[in-house]
């Protein structure tokens, strides 16, 4: 009384990279646009306001690019020496940058000349940022100091001399105008409060800190230095939450995706890794041609911009959701016809009569249910099925064999139909996962069509091809067996010699092994 049970389609594990939502999401970008800059790209920063232009700091210039333009729409080139860390203000109208000579310059993005120049650092300023109240600038320099500047009267407000090495990265809190974090080559991260004149939290990273990042909530702090990316819990007074070691070389830049769910890190090992911020597992990674120095994502992850040591800027745009169905679609019943009566509440006196739900069956299952075996086989031998899902075809052949009707289904075919079957066999016979089923089918075909062989040149050619394939496979298997035998012998000698404590031969054995395998 049970219904028809559909044919169990054998599933095979997909080898290689697993397809997850993340791989789909992060692979959905167009091929990168490469832009050549004058020197290593040390910083990329997106304007937080539309049209989401981005500032690229390379050598002694700052280029501002539009969303799709490959030419800079604006250039700031009035630096005597290398410029560093061009950063937009929250409203996207001001830009601040440090430079090798120790100056910090503030630009209006419409103007050309600097609006303000903050002089005070004695050495190169590698990091600058606006505080949350928009009126102050924080800068860190190679003279081990961190300074806070007032924009209106271009005065230095505070100086922190707590670091004992170059200050190379920093980040201001987005919520609190008085808080900012700096990382230094003295392996420490320090959080400063402008209301006091000393650091409030100091944590030991363990390596020279290359990049710091505060989560939008301000609760978590991410630092990159050496091969490590470390997450710190600020609210617990700077407790280490996770330490990630997924890169082979120094991690140079960090960025948070716009949703806050994914953390990106770029490294000198030419990889960008994407982590989930809930589990801190790597969910995806990108490869680039050169060591990565800077990384930024546009609003809504629309664009990924990566700056590299060889001065190339790689810009990847998200693929727009294609509107493919331009054809007028067949008019279907309205949505409400399908949900009609679904939300009807059962009254007390009502008797519920369930209509048996109709089980959807595949076409081949419908044929098999009605014992139309040849037709079922025809269906799965359609080119769309054989190429895309050969496992369905094989499963159906197996099922027919189980029912004892495979010979019936294969018999009585004309030239075109039999060549279709043979094509499938030629393509898939040598695959180990399909071989047991298909060899059986091939034998049956040869048995059936042996009397009529030689009548059609097309089919004869296919048979010869199949023969060649089988011979090749036999040779291949023989070779494999030979190799296996050799390896067995080697292993046997190896274990014996090991017992007599001659270890050198063992390594020789391994080397030979590798040769044999290659």
């Amino acid at each position: 009384m049970a219904g028809y049970k559909p044919v169990a389609i054998q599933t095979y594990p997909v080898l290689g990279e697993k397809i997850t939502q993340d791989t789909l999401y992060w692979n959905n970008y167009k091929t990168p646009v490469q832009i050549k800059e004058f020197g290593a790209v040390s910083k990329v920063d997106f304007s937080p306001q539309p049209p989401y232009n981005y500032a690229v700091t390379a050598s002694s210039r700052i280029h501002i690019y539009g969303r799709y333009s490959q030419e800079p729409i604006k250039t700031f080139s009035r630096f005597k020496d290398t410029a560093y860390c061009a950063t937009f203000r929250q409203d996207g109208r001001l830009l601040v940058a440090g430079s090798e000579d120790g100056g910090v310059q503030l630009f209006d993005i419409t103007g050309r000349a600097p609006l303000r120049q903050f002089e005070g650092h004695t050495k190169a300023v590698h990091t600058v940022d606006f505080t949350a109240d928009k009126y102050h600038v924080v800068s860190g320099a190679d003279d081990y100091t961190v300074k806070l500047w007032d924009i209106p009267n271009s005065k230095e407000i505070l100086t922190f001399r707590e670091h004992s090495d170059y200050v190379r990265c920093g980040c201001a809190s987005k919520l609190n105008p008085d808080l900012f974090v700096t990382g230094s080559y003295d392996h420490t991260l320090k959080m400063f409060d402008a209301r006091t004149n000393k650091s409030v939290i100091s944590v030991e990273h363990g390596q020279p800190v290359e990049s710091v990042l505060l989560f939008p909530s301000g609760g978590l702090l991410v630092s990159a230095g050496g091969r490590y990316v470390k997450i710190w819990d600020i609210l617990k007074g700077g407790q280490l939450l996770v330490s990630l070691k997924n890169h082979h070389k120094t991690v140079t830049c960090l960025y948070l995706s716009s949703s806050g769910q994914r953390l990106l890190s770029g490294s000198l090992d030419r990889k960008v890794k994407i982590y989930s911020t809930t589990s801190y597992k790597v969910v995806h990674s990108f490869d680039y041609a050169a060591s990565i120095l800077s990384l930024a994502l546009a609003h809504d992850d629309e664009t990924i911009v990566v700056g590299m040591t060889n001065g190339i800027l790689s810009v990847k745009h998200r693929k727009s959701e294609a509107k493919k169905d331009s054809l007028p679609r067949r008019r279907r019943p309205a949505y409400r016809t399908f949900i009609k009566g679904k939300n009807y509440m059962r009254q007390r006196d009502d008797i519920l009569i369930n209509r048996p739900s109709k089980k959807h069956l595949e076409l081949y299952d419908r044929d098999l249910k009605n014992f139309r075996v040849s037709k079922a086989l025809d269906r799965v031998l359609e080119p769309t099925c054989t190429i895309k899902t050969p496992e369905i075809t094989v499963s159906i052949i197996k099922e027919l064999n189980r029912r004892g009707v495979l010979a019936n289904a294969l018999a009585g075919r004309d030239e075109k139909e039999i060549s279709r079957v043979l094509n499938f066999l030629i393509r898939n016979l040598s695959q180990p996962r399909f071989a047991p089923v298909l060899i059986n089918a091939a034998e049956i075909i040869i048995d059936i069509y042996l009397p009529v062989i030689g009548q059609s040149p097309v089919v004869d050619k296919k048979f010869l091809l199949l023969q060649g394939l089988v011979e090749k496979e036999i040779d291949y298997q023989r070779e494999l067996l030979e190799t296996l035998g050799m390896m067995d012998m080697l292993f046997a000698t190896m274990t014996r010699k090991e017992s007599t404590s001659v270890l050198q031969h063992a390594s020789d054995g391994f080397l030979e092994n590798k040769k044999v395998e290659s």
């Binding site: 009384m1 049970a2 219904g3 028809y4 049970k5 559909p6 044919v7 169990a8 054998q10 997850t20 939502q21 989930s276 809930t278 589990s279 597992k281 969910v283 006196d349 008797i351 098999l368 249910k369 099922e399 064999n401 189980r402 029912r403 004892g404 047991p436 059986n440």
Partner: protein, 828 residues
């Protein structure tokens, strides 16, 4: 407890329900089926077993309703008796002793006080249909020796005999014999083609007679159905052919009116032929297994089919299955052995093809079927099916491992291992992991590590390919989903010998794997080979560790008939004995181990502790056949046998399965005591189906009851309120035009307003209403009883109750009036 009574081997349920045709009661409320030595009465509406009619000493072979009293049932048995039962109360009325082994029973309306039975006379293969005159006598046990032969040389199966009006038809091999009761002659029809064609499978398989017309339907081995007419003339007889079945027709039945013919066979499709034409047919497909018998209820509203998988399906007239009565499935070979589901304590073994059945031993009822193979079952002769060969429960029933295989040729083995997880929400097993080709050759053994402390579930499989594999449950979850799956953790082998058995010690620290003649012990932490035992006494057939205080012992039984016991501490043989062990099962609740040995005369049971080579208990000759499987089932309530020999039965019960698949056990109780159904009192009336009609009536009745109950409650507690006195409320609520005259009512009304001295009167009224309701259910007797009662009261009106009594009878009458019209009024 009756400890002194001796332990006997008893059959415990699981008997064939499909042995003979099931019979419906006249009102189609009950269905009767044979079940071993008993007759079972099931309700057709609820499938529940209402009564078990027990009394026969051997297999019941036939049941028929008494044609002269439809509340009585005849049954016959191999013990040579015909018994008459009152099936409503489950009482044996009479026993007729015939003396011969009775193979089938038939009753005919026209034949006064005689029934027909098939008996075996003289030779093995010669059967006779005889009529037995049942003498009328008041005694319980009557000899019925008056036999007269009707037909000779017939088939023993009752399917090959049919009674129509004034004729009796019997088929055997290639001919049909028809006996005419009036003429007292027999004519014989042979199929003409049967001799000409060599391969024609024209053998008759079954026969049915049309209830009204002169028409006989016969089923044949090649799937044809022939309808014979004009058979009263030896020359002019004709037949027509109906052909749909592609295999043997197993049974035929005409509907009560004779307008349609039902047939069934291997295809598991019930075919209804309307008007006996080939075009007009209806099907009820997918009945699950070969249809063995078809029967029709005398009322004509129900059919039922008995199937080879020990199941009876009750089918509605419009070909809709309405109820399934399922016993222990005995169709297939048992590969998995007997297991006990740790959760339900049900016996688990192979069931329907590709299924595992969970069978409740207490209720002799199948709990459910678990579909393991999950593929369409094609029932065709000579087809190699996928077989469920191994199964094991692990981790307190949380996991189930199954192995299925199909081997068409020597080299083409398809193996699949499935692991099922118990889902608490759905209360069933859900497929978790599927492993294709877990080994390269047949899997010989499968066992879970059932230690309490083990943190990861572990499974070991041993195979003929010389390896044993350890599978562990691993966490397969990532950030997208949570999942657990089984993966192979270790592959072990020993000199390329075939691995034949595997077994974990009780604490899970050691794994014993036998490789042909050698037993290897592995550490389950590191999977290191610890030691080997070899006795050179043949391949190891069974392997098990001792339990509890005997956990330092390992037992092995070899094919050459040696039982060895090794001490794991000294790594030496403790003792060995010559015993051809077929089944060796450890008791999960004690140190005892049961071994069943096989010899030429029969099977013997030995129960022993591994620590001492002397057995605790020996029972010789437990069964004449080979015992295939055995299992200890823990008891719900421990017994307390004091005698030392029976102490092994205290906490578990030993069940075993013989080669002919009868399930046996040991018991000291009498079978009547043992098999008392828990639901004997359950009546069909209480569990009526919920039809719309029921809702209308039932609700109405409920309301009434509630009202009455409420009334009584309040009356019992406090002074009677005027509204609560039934007489008054009746007077007030009954429509005026149906009330009797006021003069009749007056005295009653006044009486009812008087305060009675005791509350007893209330109880009396309660009783009274009860009796009245009972009476009303039996319409025919009501009138008489009623008048009698009035007479009674008139005679005994000496006491002070006179007035009251009078009022009572009147009240009754009044209520009757009210009842008559009540529904009519509400309908308006």
């Amino acid at each position: 407890m009756v400890a002194e009574e001796s332990v006997r081997v008893v059959r415990c349920g699981g008997s064939e329900l499909n042995f003979r045709r099931a019979v419906f009661s006249a009102d189609s409320k009950y269905i009767f089926c044979v079940s071993g030595d008993f007759v079972k009465v099931h309700s057709t509406a609820t499938e529940e077993c209402v009564h078990i009619l027990q009394g026969h000493r051997n297999l019941v072979t036939g049941i028929q309703l008494n044609p002269h009293n439809h509340l009585q049932l005849y049954s016959c048995s191999f013990d040579g008796t015909i018994k008459l039962w009152d099936y409503v109360d489950g009482i044996l009325i009479k026993t007729f002793v015939v003396g011969h082994k009775l193979h089938a029973l038939f009753t005919v309306t026209c034949a006064e006080d005689s029934v027909f039975v098939i008996i075996n006379k003289g030779k093995q293969d010669i059967f006779q249909l005889v009529s037995v005159k049942l003498p009328k006598s008041s005694s319980q046990e009557i000899e019925a020796k008056e036999l007269s032969c009707v037909l000779d040389y017939i088939n023993q199966s009752p399917k090959c005999i049919a009674f129509g009006n004034e004729v009796c038809a019997a088929v055997r091999d290639f001919y049909l014999s028809v006996y005419f009761f009036k003429k007292k002659t027999t004519s014989r029809f042979t199929l003409s083609s049967s001799r000409n064609k060599k391969h024609a499978k024209n053998n008759f398989t079954c026969v049915a007679c049309h209830p009204k017309e002169d028409c006989i339907a016969t089923g044949h081995k090649d799937g044809k159905i022939r309808l014979w007419r004009n058979f009263d003339d030896d020359k002019k007889y004709t037949y027509t052919c109906l052909h749909w079945h592609h295999d043997m027709v197993m049974d035929l039945a005409f509907s009560v009116t004779g307008t349609s013919l039902l047939s069934g066979g291997r295809e598991s499709v019930l075919v209804e032929w309307r008007d006996a034409t080939e075009k007009n047919k209806e099907f009820l497909p997918r009945l699950g297994a070969t249809i063995e018998h078809i029967s029709v209820s005398p009322a004509g509203d129900l059919f039922c089919t008995s199937h080879s998988d020990n199941k009876i399906i009750v089918i509605h007239r419009n070909l809709e299955a309405s109820a399934v009565i399922q016993g222990l499935v005995k169709d297939s070979n048992i590969f998995t052995g007997l297991m006990v589901d740790p959760r339900t304590k049900a016996l688990v073994l192979n069931g329907k093809p590709g299924h595992l059945q969970f069978y409740s031993l207490q209720h002799d009822k199948q709990l459910y079927n678990l579909d393991i193979i999950q593929q369409e079952y094609i029932n065709d002769y000579g087809l190699i099916q996928i077989e469920l060969t191994k199964a094991a429960f692990g981790c307190y029933g949380n996991w189930l491992a199954t192995v299925e295989q199909r081997q068409e040729k020597e080299t083409e083995l398809e193996l699949q291992m499935k692991l099922w997880m118990y889902n608490k929400k759905t209360q069933g097993f859900v497929l978790n992991t599927k492993v294709n080709m877990p080994h390269e050759d047949h899997i010989t053994a499968l066992c879970f590590c059932n230690a309490e402390k083990s943190e990861t579930p572990t499974l070991v499989t041993a195979s003929k390919d010389g390896h044993f594999k350890v599978w562990i449950l691993t966490d397969d979850s990532d950030i997208y989903k949570k999942a657990v799956a089984w993966t192979c953790d270790f592959v072990g082998s020993y000199h390329k010998y075939q691995a034949t058995n595997c077994c974990f010690s009780e604490d899970g620290s050691l794994l014993a794997v036998s490789f042909e003649e050698i037993v290897t012990i592995w550490d389950s932490e590191t999977w290191e080979l610890k030691c080997t035992f070899c006795q050179r006494a043949g391949k190891i057939r069974h392997l098990c560790f001792g339990r509890l205080t005997c956990s330092k012992y390992l037992l092995g039984a070899t094919e050459n008939g040696i039982l060895c016991c090794w001490n794991l501490l000294s790594c030496a043989l403790e003792w060995s004995t010559k015993l051809n062990v077929r089944v060796m099962e450890p008791d999960p609740n004690s140190e005892n181990i049961a071994a069943v040995s096989q010899s030429s005369v029969g099977s013997d049971l030995f129960v022993f502790k591994p620590s001492e080579p002397r057995p605790l208990y020996i029972q010789k000759n437990i069964s004449r056949e080979e015992v295939q499987w055995g299992v200890f089932v823990p008891r719900d309530v421990p017994e307390s046998f004091t005698s030392e020999a029976y102490q092994w039965l205290n906490r578990s019960q030993f069940y075993f399965l013989t080669k002919s698949q009868s399930l046996l056990t040991f018991s000291t109780k009498s079978p009547e005591e043992k098999l008392t159904p828990t639901s004997k009192q359950l009546l069909a009336e209480e569990s009526l189906p919920t039809t719309p009609f029921y809702f209308i009536l039932g609700k109405h009745r409920e309301k009434q009851d509630e009202k009455i109950n409420k009334a009584f409650e309040s009356e019992l507690v406090q002074l009677p309120l005027t509204e609560n006195i039934p007489a008054i409320s009746e007077l007030l609520h009954t429509p005026a035009h149906v009330l009797p005259s006021a003069s009749l009512l007056c005295s009653k009304f006044v009486n009812s307003l008087l305060l009675s001295k005791e509350t007893k009167s209330d109880e009396e009224t309660l009783e009274d209403t009860d009796t009245e309701e009972e009476k009303e259910s039996d319409d025919s007797d009501e009138e008489n009883d009623f008048t009698e009662k009035i007479l009674d009261t008139n005679n005994t009106d000496l006491g002070e109750d006179l007035l009251y009594q009078l009022s009572k009878s009147e009240e009754k009458e009044l209520r009757k009036f009210r009842k008559v019209d009540y529904s009519w009024i509400t309908a308006l």
